[in-house]
């Protein structure tokens, strides 16, 4: 049995590597994916294109604008003299946000009345809009805080706004010391790049498993394989072990690029990462086999794979936080091996945690893997007979 199995594995590997274009296809797309995700997927907001219509032009408005500019989140690209000039800029997409001080703004402020600052935000990109308006609120809340503390008797500077130095220790205040753990600079690259490892393995192993088996059936060489003394279990192992080998090479490749090129910190154990990847492969190969049993042609296999892969990617927490999803979907996502693998990958890369905290997702992967493999192996056998 061991001999027959070895021959089959060797045959599969030869078949995969014979064609130079195929060799290219096995390893370059994963890297390309990593690079595009690493570079293209950037939700960090640094420089929101902003226009200003300051119709009041006083020390106070200039102070507020200075705070916006100094924050680094807003880049003033246009200064216009009329409020009506803001709308065309937003329409054309030249700016994402506009600040408008109406005449009388400062007068209201000095009289102790709420002074309206109009903020217009382009909401087409809701995420950017939300973050940008969050920053704006934060800057104004800080400004208001200082104003109000000035109002309760803290000495102020000439412009009416107390400086931070004067304020300290004169009036009660809550000071926030906020820190982001695991990713102090809040780089979205650190969030997305480790996740790509999961995506890439899943895509490669699913596609290779499903297509390799369906191909034999479609081209007609499956019958030749069946007349050999190979037993079904040997056939399954012979088809899946090469896929697992190639997937591991891809994992090593992608991890190396993530660490050495993108400088994503890896704080936990590399060994644990590979063990988890092995467990994850059990599930993905199981699903690949399952797809191969329901498809007659490679086109069907490809469509079935997309049908599975896209939702699996979307409800894995790769991009969209699972906590935001409806409860039903959150439960469904527990059956998604990618979800558990991503928890492990991010835990190992960013948090540096080990088995003591990661055993639940590992256990899920193991259980899902065994269930899927058994199911597909049974179906596969009945399809053969």
């Amino acid at each position: 049995m061991r001999d027959r199995l070895r021959h089959l594995i060797v045959k599969e590997l030869i078949q995969m590597f014979r064609n130079p274009r195929m060799r290219f296809v096995l390893f370059v797309p994963p890297l390309l994916q990593l690079i595009t995700y690493g570079y293209a997927f950037n939700l960090d907001i640094r420089c929101v294109a902003t226009a200003v219509a300051d119709l009041d032009r006083t020390q106070e408005t200039r102070e507020i604008l200075r705070r916006f500019e100094r924050s680094g989140y807003f880049c003033f690209q246009e200064r216009v003299g009329r409020a009506a000039d803001l709308a065309p800029l937003l329409d054309a997409g030249r700016i994402k946000l506009a600040l408008q001080f109406d005449p009388g703004f400062t007068q209201d402020l000095r009289r102790g009345q709420p002074a309206a600052l109009q903020i217009l935000v382009d909401g087409t990109e809701s995420n950017t809009a939300m973050i940008a308006s969050g920053y704006a609120n934060r800057i104004l809340a800080q400004y208001n805080l200082e104003l109000q503390r000035a109002a309760v008797g803290v000495p102020t500077t000439r412009s009416g706004v107390p400086t931070a130095e004067i304020l300290r220790d004169r009036s009660p205040a809550v000071e926030l010391r906020a820190r982001a753990w695991y990713n102090p600079d809040l780089k979205s690259r650190n969030f997305f790049v480790p996740g790509v490892i999961g995506l890439v393995i899943m895509l490669v192993s699913l596609q290779l498993t499903a297509m390799a088996i369906v191909r034999e059936r479609e081209v007609g060489t499956m019958e030749q394989l069946l007349v050999t003394p190979l037993r079904p279990i040997e056939l399954i192992l012979g088809k899946t072990i090469p896929v697992a080998l190639i997937s591991f090479v891809d994992i090593a490749l992608v991890t190396a690029v993530a660490v050495f090129w993108f400088r994503v910190p890896i704080r936990g154990s590399l060994l644990l990462l590979f063990v988890a990847a092995g467990l994850f492969l059990l599930s993905t190969i199981g699903i690949g086999l399952l797809i191969s049993t329901v498809s007659r042609t490679q086109q069907q296999a490809m469509m079935a794979m997309s049908f599975f892969f896209m939702p699996a990617m979307l409800i894995s927490g790769y991009l969209f936080p699972i906590a935001n999803m409806p409860p039903v979907i959150q439960y469904v996502s527990l059956l998604n091996p990618l979800r558990h693998f991503l928890v492990i990958v991010r835990g190992i890369f960013l948090k540096g945690i080990g088995l003591e905290l990661l055993w639940p997702p590992m256990l899920w992967l193991l259980g899902l893997g065994i269930a899927l493999l058994t199911l597909s192996a049974l179906r596969f056998r009945t399809r053969l007979e």
Partner: protein, 375 residues
């Protein structure tokens, strides 16, 4: 090009597609599934973040502050920790994404007029959620601080001045991510259908050996290409109708511009997408390779580099330049413009021009790449 032969190729392709109801079903099921997921399930909005609190003071004031966090609906205070270790573990294990620590003597020190620090820890591994959460935390704390200062000073003087931020959001007033996502999704769906289905058609003929039969017929290359193009463009257009109907009727995404303009853009885009699929197909002899190439050449760029999922301005310069060659970029711009801003061809003509040019070039390349030869 003879109409009779062309019709024959189209008929053969249609029969082949119809004989495989499973793939055809998938061609409609995948768009619906994506639409449902993006419309209902997926959102980057931040609310009810799991929060762990370590309140060392347990005073009226500390409870006041925590109540404000809770009342904002952005934070869901579930766990109350009794020590630092517990806070750390909650964040490590992912049970909580935000930790708040209020020091002992919080209330007393405030009464004394001191500046009292509170600590907030946010799980930064999801950088997007963390960024939004930090902004909320700062805003809530600053507002609370301002109020406490007034309370303690005994608000006897005139009411304090404040800048009142009047935020108005254009084009998508409720900041619903589905309004942003669904129009762009039409482009992704069409790439999936156009690219994936068509990329296998020629490769399949090679792999199964039926290409030789096709070569032996008097059919011309142009007839074969157009004949293969037409049915898939047809399926793609049906998908567009389905996606637009689903997006507007089920999810209430506004369609402010012209419906016909939208269809016109879709047709131009599909011609290019299906053409690219055929080009890949003509260049590869096995379906596995064709499908891998299709993923990389069509799906990846239209998902990543089109501005669908992540803003193009945030990308490095080199990728921004690459994105100019991605047709989905122009299509996504056109879709968002038509859906949300209601603008017309007067502003979108450069996009239309590019899409038409891309389709023409790709189809010409396919005809050149495909020879009626056996080698």
């Amino acid at each position: 090009m003879r109409p009779a032969r062309l019709r024959a190729v189209i008929r053969k392709e249609v029969i082949q597609i119809r004989r495989d109801p499973w793939s055809l079903g998938m061609a409609f099921a995948i768009p619906m599934l994506l639409l449902l997921l993006f419309g209902w399930v997926l959102t980057l909005d931040v609310n009810n973040l799991e929060t762990v609190v370590y309140d060392q003071d347990r005073s009226q004031r500390s409870r006041d502050l925590l109540e404000r966090f809770e009342a904002s609906h952005y934070f869901h205070v579930r766990t109350r920790a009794l020590g630092w270790g517990e806070v750390e573990r909650a964040l490590d294990s992912g049970r909580a994404q935000v930790g708040l620590v209020i020091p002992r003597n919080f209330a007393r020190d405030l009464e004394r007029g001191l500046v009292v620090p509170i600590q907030a820890m946010v799980d930064g591994s999801d950088s997007n959620t963390a960024t939004i959460a930090l902004a909320y935390i700062e805003t809530i704390t600053a507002r609370y601080s301002a109020q406490v200062a007034l309370q303690i000073a005994g608000s006897s003087g005139p009411p304090p001045a404040a800048v009142d931020a009047r935020l108005r959001v254009w084009f998508n007033p409720d900041l619903e991510s589905k309004d942003f996502v669904v129009p762009g999704l039409v482009a992704v769906i069409m790439t999936v259908i156009g690219g994936l289905l068509s990329s296998l058609t020629l490769a399949r003929e090679w792999e199964r050996g039926t290409m030789e039969q096709l070569i032996a017929t008097p059919i011309r290359v142009s007839e074969l290409i157009v004949g293969k193009l037409a049915p898939y463009v047809g399926i793609g257009m049906l998908d567009v109708l389905l996606a637009v109907a689903g997006g507007t009727l089920i999810f209430g995404v506004p369609l402010r511009g012209s419906f016909w303009l939208l269809l016109g853009f879709s047709l131009l885009f599909l011609l290019g997408a299906v053409g690219l699929g055929l080009l890949i197909s003509a260049r590869s002899r096995t379906q596995l390779m064709a499908s891998q190439l299709a993923m990389v050449a069509t799906l990846l760029p239209s998902f990543m580099l089109s501005g669908f999922a992540s803003p193009i301005e945030n990308m490095p310069q080199a990728l921004q330049i690459v994105s100019y060659a991605v047709p989905a970029r122009y299509f996504v711009t056109a879709l968002k413009g038509i859906f949300l801003k209601g603008i017309g061809l007067r502003m979108l003509w450069p996009e239309a021009l590019f899409l038409a040019g891309f389709a023409a070039v790709v189809i010409a390349l396919t005809m050149q790449a495909f020879h009626k030869r056996l080698d």
